[in-house]
Symmetry: C2
């Protein structure tokens, strides 16, 4: 099928001067040929003229996916064995300075480990029993060298603390027919993006220790359409071990996603260790051990930045903060009040008080502890602000009403102080859309607003001059469609909520995620304020057991919309599922080969066929 | 939370003479107390008076979930580490006779391995940081002995070839306060059911090598409501390695499910090796190696029967058989014809011809090869019969029409011959509902009909005198709600199928699965014809990567409906989600601890709380 597809693209290429290869997300410009080049581990690699050493991150005794060489049958079976332990690769020493050479070197090591140890024999991308592999004994060329040139010097601070768009992620990649490969990029992040594209050109051969690309010569010119391409994990509704977060960061980088938003705390639990407020996690975590220590947090930040991903921490407030009541009950209203729907949208209820100086003292202490520890590693800090419930303020002794006329000025004052705290630590605040749109809170132009309710939200926010992140729940909520997690006793609740869907059912399929254009209906000036988007994965029914398959490859569909744009520049039209589906199937197989349990997007028959064979043709 | 729940049940127990423990599915009669009994590996075990040796199926070097004893924090982290390799336990020697003692012995070994090596410290079932564990140093009693009595002798043949209902699965289990345990059952299958209930009484203690039940004394009298409690895997749309099937069989036995229906072939692929027709799988499989050999099939049958599960193989025909065209094109109409929806419901199309003696010859050869190999291991053989498309017969040279008046008599003749083939090999045929209901095919009273279209289907079928299996797709299709797997090109198809749901969206939540009563609206006599039900997992978007979390624990919800009945005998009302949710959460945690990646059904906060705290109260 790959060869069929290439034939189609090559014939199109005559007219369009551009072809699609297998790279996801689609590069801005890509030309590929049909020559086979093999690659082996003697490849010579340089970075700005200096020789680069690389090392495999895989234990050779366990790494070899395809032990029984020359047996495609065994290989096909091995492909479906996804029990291979995930290898996490290089982690910088804690607190080490940003070192461009070290980062490129580690990126090269990850790339070559993926090519040589975690690659796929792509039988699932070709017709059943097709003879799809190049002849190992023909006089094929070889990839002889990979020369990497970084044309500018990284600012040691900026990769950590750059605002969206401040780091140039563009790159060029040329793999010549003679086997010489050149990567050029302004920044080390650009080099990492190029290396991932390079990786995606190669396959494993079934007949021994051989790897090849069938696409030479290759020429790529690439840069993202949006600077903010994010994914949100929710560590409050379920706790995720650090390794789940690290693995997710790796997988993000494979789809050129660059922002990991961690919704760290909520009413359900407080897993974040705050040394100056130790009771918060000691009492608010689900169990001892299910906490992120300051060292964990630093590790996550550094691991991420070394993969071109910036981590943004969220402490959701003033709603969604009930877990604080387990250690500081005096600061919180309505903790776990029943029936929950009188006081909030989800049990357990609980919000910080709006008119209480003890809350100010608490937040001063919290932010003075936490923000200096995240400030060196990120540009943003998210203060939440979604779904604040008016009724719960009726229970606050110094408020005692749900009257917006009373609550709004209190909240404005509360938010002014809170945003000032964030800014005082050199961070840019982010908030959910309800603060400006529902509560009419004046925020300041620096604040980035995350929109999730769809409809005219984006337009409304950019009209107010806000920078915006699109997380439209009608398109981009990965958690939707998994069924209700609430219990409904026999009787009225049962009848009302039958057949027990979740609130944002149905599932957002990859096609639906792919269909959404965050710039739709905006003027050119308005569109500039849309920094990008983010797929949230609220974790009501997601934990370690099913994380990978909920996220992937659907988050990759967002990756392409935001990196490559919804519009295909070659046609001026929306990108087609016919072009995307085979490439996304291939990416999914690469992810599984690399140890991430992404879900299949279609039947195996369909990944082996042309997109038209699994299409509804009208 | 567990203790809270027990308190509620114990107080109810005063009135009802019965309490619920943590056993899933709920036993017909269960009484539990609140005494703690520890259990250790010196336990004395007998079977019909003879001493039983047991051995652990876990490699001690890798098995220990909780290496760092006495550290609940480490234990909580370990709980979320689901990468533990699955251990498959005892497999009988190929072709060995049914040996009741061997089977009980292996069942005991699996049970004690689960208690001592794959158990859970149930922190996730109690309030955050609650002091839920019994005092290790108090003068607690111990479980001293497990005496198993089988009151009847197994017929060596019958556990393999028994019809639904012919094997008595009932048992009694008494765990006395003095630590003496007695299991009594008529058959070895009944003993296996009792051992699984016994297992579910125990937890691991965090403070060392200690395990306990907090529920002594325990008294169980149990028997199933329905004899057929099934799950269907589809090995044609994706291939599943044998180990996925074996692991699924183990997990089924944990929920007392007893029928594994393997939808073995379809138009997408033919993974079943047929030695006398070797081209079928050589050309019809997705890749060399992705086949089930005769040895694999025998292994699956024997592995299953030793866990009280009977395997039923389906070769779907005359529709859904396109993959045969890859080796025998002359037997098939409309293979992979486009646009597919003119010729069938799903690509690739393809069906066996209805009026061609070559098809008869082929089926004679196929069945003469296959059926003698499954006959010794099962009572049933499923010949499919769903979604036969009339248009495709227009392409058959000896038919040439889609006129039902012509097709129906041809199909009746075709089915008569086919059912005769099955019967001649001593097997009972099963078919999908379309044969009698859509095509008015006369089948014979022995044939079991599988209903999937809901509505009045069950009533219609039992009124005709058919024995029925309920697989209502509105309730029991596990594959629904995962998004479309078809591609929709820009234009008319895109507009028509936006937002790209699958045909049976949304997801069937555990609550919806649990809500369905296959006997609803039937007279007592009609209800007797409902043998049970089955949850199908059609595998368009399911493969090894996500199998476990699609199946589990939702298939367990079916397990309770069919074992325990939709009606709670204590109340005469439908069972409540308030009773079921905590037990299902606990079962899910047990499944994860035992190495099956079941999905969470709710927030961790909810599994730690009482059902009312995560309920919509009206």
């Amino acid at each position: 099928m790959l060869l069929k597809r290439l034939t189609i693209h090559l014939s199109l290429a005559v007219g369009l001067g551009q072809v699609e290869g297998s790279i996801w997300p689609a590069p801005a410009k890509l030309q590929t040929g049909d020559k086979v080049l093999f690659i082996d581990q003697t490849l010579s690699i340089t970075y700005n003229g200096e020789f680069v050493r690389w090392c495999s991150f895989v234990n050779p005794s366990t790494s070899h996916r395809h032990k029984d060489q020359h047996d495609l049958g065994q290989i096909a079976k091995d492909t479906l064995n996804i029990q291979l332990p995930y290898t996490y690769g290089y982690t910088p020493a804690p607190g080490a300075d940003y070192n461009s050479k070290e980062i490129v070197q580690a990126g090269v090591s990850r790339t070559l480990s993926a090519i040589f140890h975690k690659n796929l024999v792509p039988w699932m991308l070709h017709d059943k029993h097709a003879d799809f592999e190049p002849d190992l004994y023909a006089s094929n060329g070889r990839v002889t060298a990979l020369h990497i040139t970084q044309t500018d010097t990284d600012d040691e601070e900026s990769p950590y603390t750059a605002l969206a768009g401040e780091i140039d992620e563009s790159y060029s990649l040329v793999l010549a027919e003679n086997g010489m490969t050149r990567i050029e990029a302004e920044t080390s992040v650009g080099v990492l993006r190029a290396l991932e594209s390079f990786n995606q050109l190669f396959y494993q051969h079934s007949s021994g220790n051989a790897w090849y690309t069938p696409l030479a010569p290759v020429s790529v010119e690439d840069a993202p359409q949006y600077p903010y391409r994010g994914l949100m994990m929710d560590t409050s509704r379920h706790f995720f071990p650090v390794k789940d977060i690290l693995r997710t960061i790796d997988a993000m980088s494979w789809s050129k996603l660059n922002k990991l938003h961690i919704h760290a705390t909520d009413s359900q639990s407080w897993p974040l260790e705050i040394p100056s407020l130790p009771e918060l996690s000691a009492k608010g975590s689900y169990a001892r051990g299910l906490v992120y220590t300051p060292q964990d947090l630093q590790h996550i930040h550094e691991y991420a930045i070394h993969r071109g991903v910036q981590v943004i921490l969220e402490i959701d407030m003033p709603g969604h903060s009930g877990a604080i009541a387990l250690s500081y009950p005096e600061l919180v209203v309505a903790y776990n009040k029943l029936p929950y729907h009188w006081w909030c949208v989800q049990p357990p209820c609980g919000g910080l008080k709006l008119n209480d100086s003890r809350v100010d003292d608490f937040l001063d202490t919290l932010f003075d502890d936490l923000l200096p520890r995240v400030g060196p590693y990120t540009a943003y800090f998210h203060t939440g602000g979604d779904e604040l419930n008016k009724n719960s303020s009726r229970l606050e002794e110094n408020v005692g009403t749900n009257d917006t006329a009373v609550l709004q000025p209190l909240l404005q004052k509360w938010m002014d102080k809170n945003l000032a705290r964030v800014r005082s630590h050199g961070l840019v605040p982010m908030v959910w859309q309800e603060m400006p749109l529902e509560w009419n809170i004046t925020l300041g132009d620096d604040v980035v607003v995350q929109a999730w309710l769809g409809g005219s939200t984006i337009k409304d926010l950019v009209s107010m001059g806000h920078k915006v992140i699109d997380s439209d729940s009608n398109f981009w909520y990965l958690d939707c469609g998994r069924g209700a997690w609430l219990n409904f006793d026999n009787g009225a609740a049962y009848e009302t909520f039958y057949p027990f869907n979740d609130w944002c059912s149905p599932t957002k399929s990859w096609q639906l995620i792919y269909s959404h254009d965050p710039r739709q209906g905006l003027t050119e000036d308005e569109a500039k304020l849309v920094l990008g988007g983010e797929v949230p994965a609220w974790s009501e029914t997601i934990d370690s057991a099913n994380l990978d398959m909920v996220l992937w490859p659907r988050a990759s569909a967002l990756g392409e919309v935001l990196w490559s744009g919804r519009i295909d520049p070659a046609t001026g039209e929306n990108r087609s599922q016919f072009d995307a589906a085979p490439r996304l199937s291939e990416l999914r197989e690469r992810m599984v080969a690399r140890g991430v349990g992404a879900a299949p997007i279609s039947q195996l028959f369909c990944s082996q066929s042309s997109p038209e064979e699994c299409a509804f043709l009208m």
